[in-house]
Structures are given as structure tokens and as C-alpha cells.
């Protein structure tokens, strides 16, 4: 495998759109050809060479190419978009659409990435060492076919809307997830090792969500079925199985509806309780703030 390294010279004033930076975009090209490739900022087109220094050379095909991107990439979009093979390493934080629509190969982002990472993903491995933004592994706007295959591993936290309209593949989040994980999911598997917020599995038709931490508010459309042992990273864990979303349509097999599955680790404290306690505390705090007589009277 040949390695080509791109180092950004200075941060762009607006955001740079550089979907060409992927093993597929660079493979089989000479250094001069690569420097002449287009990147975009607003309504203007620039060459890759105007923004990046180049070292090494790509292989003949994407499979034989490793792309390393370094420097401050926090204002660069679309890195590794639509890559189909080979390897790519992003050494710093990156902006939106990292590994969007990727179908193969391995893409490692060493820092944080912004929203829409791995949207519409079909295959390959996307590894994010830091945190990810909203809509990780989701569908593109208006598409009802979200992530179809491959694996996304986020070592930090994710913001909201992870796995929106997910159809297949796997998302593993080592940290916490914000609201709306697996909304509209029709397949695939999501593992959250930290805590989840409300709307977990909302409108889920099929697929699996495994939660090792807690969820603050359960969806009303999930019903408890039984406890089961589930294998997570080779460890057997006792989990409660809920099925849902009961408000959604579900196809039937042998007369039995197929539901989405939500596994929540047994050791987790009962979510309803913790919420009640939190609410009570918030109410107390509110009362203390509005302690003056007129305001208590009107309240």
C-alpha cells in the first residue's frame, strides 16, 4: 500500500469542500494531477495544491492507497466522502460529512468530527476517536434508506439523531448519546456503552439497540418482554428486553409481528425513579427562587 500525505497550509476563511480527498479521489494520479484537483470554497473553485502540501504518492487503485490528512482540518468538509476502499487517516478534528456515503475501506478520524459523519454508509469501517456531531450514521435529508452496512465506532460521545432511518450495519458508541437514537430504524444494530437520553428507539420498526447505561425517559411504545443474556464485546450481560415501537407498523412472520428490540442492562437504575427525583429537585429549586410572597400567590 502506498501512502500519500496531505498537509493543510492554512485554515480557509470560509469552509473548504474537499470531497476529492479520499483514496478513490487520489488513486492512480501523479503529484501534479493531485495538486490540480478541485476544491471549493463558497462559489469559487481552488486547486488542492493551493491549500495542501503533498508528500508521498497514491497507489494505482483505491485499495492500494492510504491517504493521511494532517494540519488543522476543522474547517474542511466531506473528507473521505464516498470512499470505497483503501485507508484514510484524518489526524485532527474535521468538519461535517466525514466518511459520508462510504462503501468500503477504513477511515480513522483521530479528533472530533462534526455532524453528518457516515451518513448513508454502505460498507467499510469508520472510526472516530473523539466525539461525533448530530446525524452520525443517518440518512441524508429526505432519504428513507439510512445507513445500510459497514460499521461506525465512536469512542467519545455523539449528539442527537444517531442512526436516523438506519437499515443495516452497526454503530458502536463508547460514550453517551443525545436524544433520538435509531429513530425510524428498519434494521441494523446500535450499541451505546454510556447513557442515552429520551426518544431512544422512537418510531423504530425493526433493528436492535443495546444500552449499557441509563435512559432518562423511556418511549411509551416499548413493552418489557423478558430478561436475556446478551453478548457485548465477548462478555455476557444480563439485559431487559423491550420491544417496540408499538405505535409503528410492523410486518409479520408466521402471524407474529416483528418488533424493534431494545436491550437495557439490568444493573441500570430504574429510569422513571431518577427522573421523578430530578423533577422534584428542580421544583424545589424553582420554589426557592420565587420565594417572594406575591409570586408564590400567583403561581
Amino acid at each position: 500500500m502506498e501512502t500519500v500525505t496531505l498537509t493543510i497550509k492554512k485554515a480557509p476563511t470560509l469552509y473548504l469542500e474537499a470531497e476529492i480527498i479520499s483514496p478513490d479521489g487520489l488513486a492512480g494520479k501523479t503529484a501534479d494531477q493531485i495538486r490540480a484537483l478541485p476544491v471549493h470554497m463558497g462559489n469559487e473553485e481552488f486547486t488542492l495544491g493551493e491549500f495542501f502540501d503533498l508528500a508521498g504518492a497514491p497507489g494505482a487503485t483505491a485499495e492500494e492507497t492510504k491517504v493521511v490528512v494532517t494540519g488543522d482540518l476543522s474547517r474542511v468538509k466531506y473528507l473521505g466522502m464516498k470512499m470505497s476502499g483503501g485507508e484514510m487517516v484524518i489526524e485532527s478534528d474535521a468538519d461535517m460529512y466525514v466518511g459520508a456515503w462510504m462503501s468500503g475501506g477504513t477511515l480513522t478520524a483521530k479528533g472530533n468530527v462534526d455532524s453528518f459523519a457516515g451518513i448513508g454508509m454502505k460498507g467499510g469501517l469508520l472510526e472516530i476517536n473523539g466525539n461525533a456531531g448530530n446525524y452520525t450514521g443517518s440518512a441524508y435529508r429526505g432519504d428513507w434508506r439510512g445507513m445500510q452496512g459497514g460499521k461506525i465506532h465512536v469512542k467519545g460521545n455523539v449528539r442527537s439523531d444517531t442512526g436516523y432511518f438506519m437499515n443495516g450495519g452497526e454503530i458502536v458508541i463508547d460514550g453517551d448519546a443525545d436524544v433520538h437514537v435509531g429513530t425510524h430504524a428498519e434494521g441494523g444494530k446500535i450499541v451505546i456503552k454510556g447513557n442515552a437520553k429520551s426518544r431512544l428507539g422512537g418510531q423504530m420498526v425493526e433493528g436492535t439497540i443495546i444500552l449499557l447505561g441509563t435512559v432518562d425517559v423511556m418511549m411509551p411504545g416499548f413493552k418489557y418482554v423478558r430478561d436475556e443474556e446478551v453478548d457485548v464485546d465477548g462478555k455476557n450481560m444480563l439485559m431487559s428486553l423491550y420491544v417496540g415501537d408499538l405505535g409503528e407498523r410492523h410486518r409479520k412472520r408466521k402471524g407474529e409481528p416483528i418488533y424493534g428490540k431494545l436491550y437495557i442492562r439490568k444493573a441500570a437504575p430504574a429510569a422513571a425513579e431518577s427522573r421523578e427525583v430530578r423533577l422534584a429537585r428542580a421544583r424545589e429549586a424553582r420554589k426557592a427562587r420565587f420565594a417572594s410572597p406575591e409570586e408564590t400567590a400567583s403561581a
Partner: protein
């Protein structure tokens, strides 16, 4: 003797009432009296006669004061701002007519701009949801004539769309609704006990931010599945009861407002509300309508839709239309410092955007094209006052149910004042001239990179 203009449309809220009567002075320059409109609508008509109106553009000076400039100078500044920008944002469009919106879009196409309308902080999430799951909808006329179950979710028309209840949804007697409000069941869902909720047959006061859960619970109940004891603070019996009322109706409708579009979950709340509507159609006729705020924000979505395929937040910087709320929406663009010039058109982000965005507007080249002084004009480099649409000029507007209504001109604008359509047309033509003068292949900006 004053004359009266009849069948006037009210350019305030999305109800776009078209039965207003306005008494104007004999010379046709002044609004004297307004009939049929609600208080907020009437105030807008009467305000056109305000003595303190600005009638010429104002340019901000070094010391922060404003100097009056001519429309020609304003057009020159605006055209240059667009030509020199790599990524101009054109925000607003909800308080103007479709003709002006269309010319604005020509400017965006010529300069690679981003056009976003006020839906971005209002019903944008509804538009996202509609794209995701579709929408079974109808017109307000159908509701007046047919609806016998009316559900208001996260909206307060008693104050925000004052004539909605009396003209369309609750009180009017229609063809099949001869008993008026006596024949209608009204369900209201809101975290607050609003004046709309006080009228409800079935008031459901839910925990703030739990609309998605409650909508899901409605869907579970519609399917006859079992619910937990309480959802969103509401006992399950009440949810089953509300669903029973809905199922027993002949024609039901859900109206929803910013209480659901701009609270936790945003588009997901609307998505789920639309799915409730779809589910209900297994039992009876049901429709859903967004309570659009400004009188022609719907029109902006319509014009963008037929021209570019997307209803708001459309980015043309690469020469083709791209749309991704969260990236191409005004607040994200401003907060992330992704645009280098802004034209605010027929709206007031200075009042409605978060401070981080407003600060950015103050930093970059900016033009505000609005009839009156507002918080946005006071942070913009240039304020271009224009005639008030649908009062001092006519034009096409779309009501909240996507029905186009041609607005009527009632009075003349103050002497020498341009309409926003005239201003935009001249800016568009000036941009074309400037572009023709610039030698081909020369970059507008001198982004020094790689040196």
C-alpha cells in the same frame, strides 16, 4: 369623503384573511380605518400612516450613526456586496410577495448565494418532516365546511392567529358544520393553560418537551396497544379518551405550531404528528396543517420549491441546489462563520436569532431591506426601507394551507419610495452589469493561499 377598499388581504399572520375592508383618504395615500381585521392585523395597516417612517435608505457611518443615501447608492452598495462575496446569505422572504422572492432567487443564482427563509426558526422542522414522511393535508375551507374534530398542538391561535378560530377552525358554520362550534370537538395539547386551551373540550396539559412521547402514545392508543400509566404527565385514560374522540369524528384536523416545531425533537415531533394523522385515516378522514407564522412564509417555500426543489435553506454556492438543514440553515451558517455577506429581506433576525448569530450579522457586510426600523436594521451596514407589501403594493401570497391569494394594493407608498420588488430588480440588473464588466477568469476575492 373617504373611500373604502373591500376584499383586502391582511399581511400579518399565516391566516392571510382576505375579507378586510380599509377606509383610505380620498387621494389614496393614507389608511384611515380598518374593518374586519383583528387587533394585530389592523395595527399593521394603520402603521403605514405613521409619521416617523423612514422613507430613504440609510448607510451606517464610521461613528455608528446613519446617513441618508439615495436608492441609487443603496443599489450600488448591495450589488457590489454580492459580487465581492464568496458565499452570500439571503435571509427572510416571509413578509414579501412571491414576485420579489423570485427575483431574489435570480440574484442567488447569479452570485452563488444561499437562500433561507424564516421557516428556519419557525416551521423548518415541519418541512423536514414533510419531506421524510409526506403530509395528508387539506385547505382551511375544507376545515370550515367539514371538520368536526379539531386538535391544536403546541399553538395558541387565540393570540397568534386571532381570527383563525372564528374564520376557519372552531366557530364558523360551514356546509356540513351547521352547528358551528357546538358541533365541533376541540382538543388542545400544550404545556401551558393558554387562552386556546381554555376553550377546549379535551385539554391536555403535558410536561414541557414531551410532545414526541405523547404523540407516540397517541399512536400506541390508536392501535389499541397498551400504554404505561402516565405519558408526558398525562394519565393513560385521558389519552385513550382523546383518541376515542378523534376516532368518532367524521373529519379531523391537527393544527400544530412552534410549541412542537421548536421544542426538543423538532422535526421528529412533526414527523410523529403526521404519522398520527396517517394512522387516523384508517378510521376516519384526518388532515394536518402547520400554523405558519408570517403571511407569506408559505409562499417563499412554494417559490423555492418550484424553482429549486427545496422549501428553505437552499445553497447554490456550487452552482446547483443543495439543501441540508443543520448545515445550510442561517443560524448554522452564521454561528459557524460560513458566510461572508448577508442580505436580510422582509424579516427581522435581529429580534429572533440567537445572539451568536446576530453578532456575526453585525460583523459582515450586511443589507437589511425592510419597511421599518427594527433591531436588524440597527446592526446592518445599510437599511433600505421599502413599501409595505400587500398594503402599498400587491402581489401573490400563500396562505398557511398553501392556497395562493393575490394581495391588493390599498394605498400609495410615501413619495419616491421603492417597492422591494423594484429594489431587487435593479440590484439584479446592476449585478449583471458588474459581472459583464469583470474580465473572465478573475476571481472576485483575493484569497491568498499557498503563498
Amino acid at each position: 369623503m373617504a373611500k373604502t377598499v373591500t376584499d383586502v388581504t391582511c399581511p400579518f399572520c399565516g391566516s392571510l384573511c382576505d375579507d378586510i375592508e380599509v377606509q383610505v383618504s380620498d387621494d389614496g395615500t393614507k389608511v384611515l380605518e380598518v374593518f374586519n381585521a383583528c387587533a394585530i392585523g389592523a395595527a399593521k395597516f394603520l402603521h403605514t400612516a405613521a409619521k416617523d417612517r423612514v422613507t430613504r435608505p440609510r448607510m451606517r457611518q464610521e461613528d455608528g450613526s446613519y446617513k441618508e443615501v439615495s436608492y441609487d447608492e443603496a443599489i450600488e452598495y448591495t450589488a457590489h456586496m454580492f459580487v465581492n462575496s464568496k458565499k452570500p446569505l439571503m435571509y427572510g422572504w416571509s413578509n414579501t410577495n412571491c414576485e420579489a422572492q423570485s427575483v431574489g432567487h435570480e440574484i442567488a443564482e447569479a452570485t452563488g448565494g444561499i437562500v433561507d427563509n424564516t421557516a428556519t426558526v419557525c416551521h423548518g422542522p415541519s418541512l423536514i418532516a414533510i419531506q421524510d414522511v409526506g403530509i395528508p393535508s387539506c385547505t382551511l375551507g375544507e376545515i370550515k365546511n367539514r371538520a368536526d374534530v379539531v386538535l391544536f398542538w403546541g399553538c395558541n391561535p387565540a393570540h397568534a392567529h386571532p381570527r383563525h378560530l372564528s374564520k376557519y377552525s372552531i366557530f364558523p358554520r360551514g356546509f356540513f358544520t351547521g352547528k358551528g362550534h357546538k358541533g365541533r370537538k376541540m382538543i388542545v395539547v400544550d404545556p401551558r393553560n393558554t387562552d386556546t386551551m381554555k376553550l377546549a373540550d379535551v385539554p391536555l396539559q403535558l410536561e414541557q418537551g414531551r410532545d414526541y412521547e405523547l404523540l407516540s402514545a397517541f399512536r400506541v392508543a390508536i392501535r389499541g396497544e397498551e400504554l404505561p400509566e402516565k405519558v408526558a404527565g398525562i394519565p393513560r385514560e385521558k389519552i385513550y379518551e382523546a383518541v376515542e374522540v378523534m376516532k368518532n369524528g367524521r373529519f379531523g384536523v391537527i393544527f400544530f405550531g412552534m410549541g412542537v416545531t421548536q421544542s426538543l425533537g423538532k422535526n421528529h415531533n412533526i414527523d410523529n404528528a403526521i404519522m398520527v394523522t396517517k394512522d387516523m385515516n384508517e378510521y376516519t378522514k384526518f388532515a394536518i396543517i402547520a400554523m405558519r407564522g408570517h403571511y407569506n412564509v408559505t409562499g417563499s417555500g412554494q417559490v423555492m420549491g418550484w424553482q429549486w426543489g427545496f422549501p428553505f435553506a437552499t445553497d447554490l454556492s456550487r452552482g446547483f441546489a443543495r439543501y441540508n438543514p443543520g448545515e445550510t440553515t442561517s443560524n448554522d451558517l452564521l454561528r459557524r462563520r460560513e458566510v461572508d455577506a448577508i442580505m436580510v429581506f422582509a424579516s427581522d433576525p435581529g429580534s429572533h436569532f440567537p445572539i451568536s448569530s446576530v453578532r456575526e450579522i453585525a460583523k459582515i457586510p450586511s443589507v437589511a431591506v425592510v419597511p421599518d426600523i427594527n433591531p436588524t436594521t440597527e446592526i446592518s451596514k445599510l437599511h433600505v426601507p421599502v413599501a409595505v407589501n400587500a398594503i402599498e403594493t400587491g402581489g401573490c401570497c400563500y396562505r398557511m394551507d398553501n392556497v395562493p391569494i393575490d394581495a391588493r394594493k390599498v394605498v400609495e407608498p410615501p413619495e419616491g419610495m421603492l417597492t422591494d420588488l423594484e429594489f431587487l430588480t435593479r440590484v439584479r440588473d446592476r449585478i449583471a452589469e458588474l459581472k459583464a464588466q469583470a474580465p473572465a477568469g478573475v476571481r472576485a476575492s483575493a484569497e491568498a493561499v499557498g503563498a
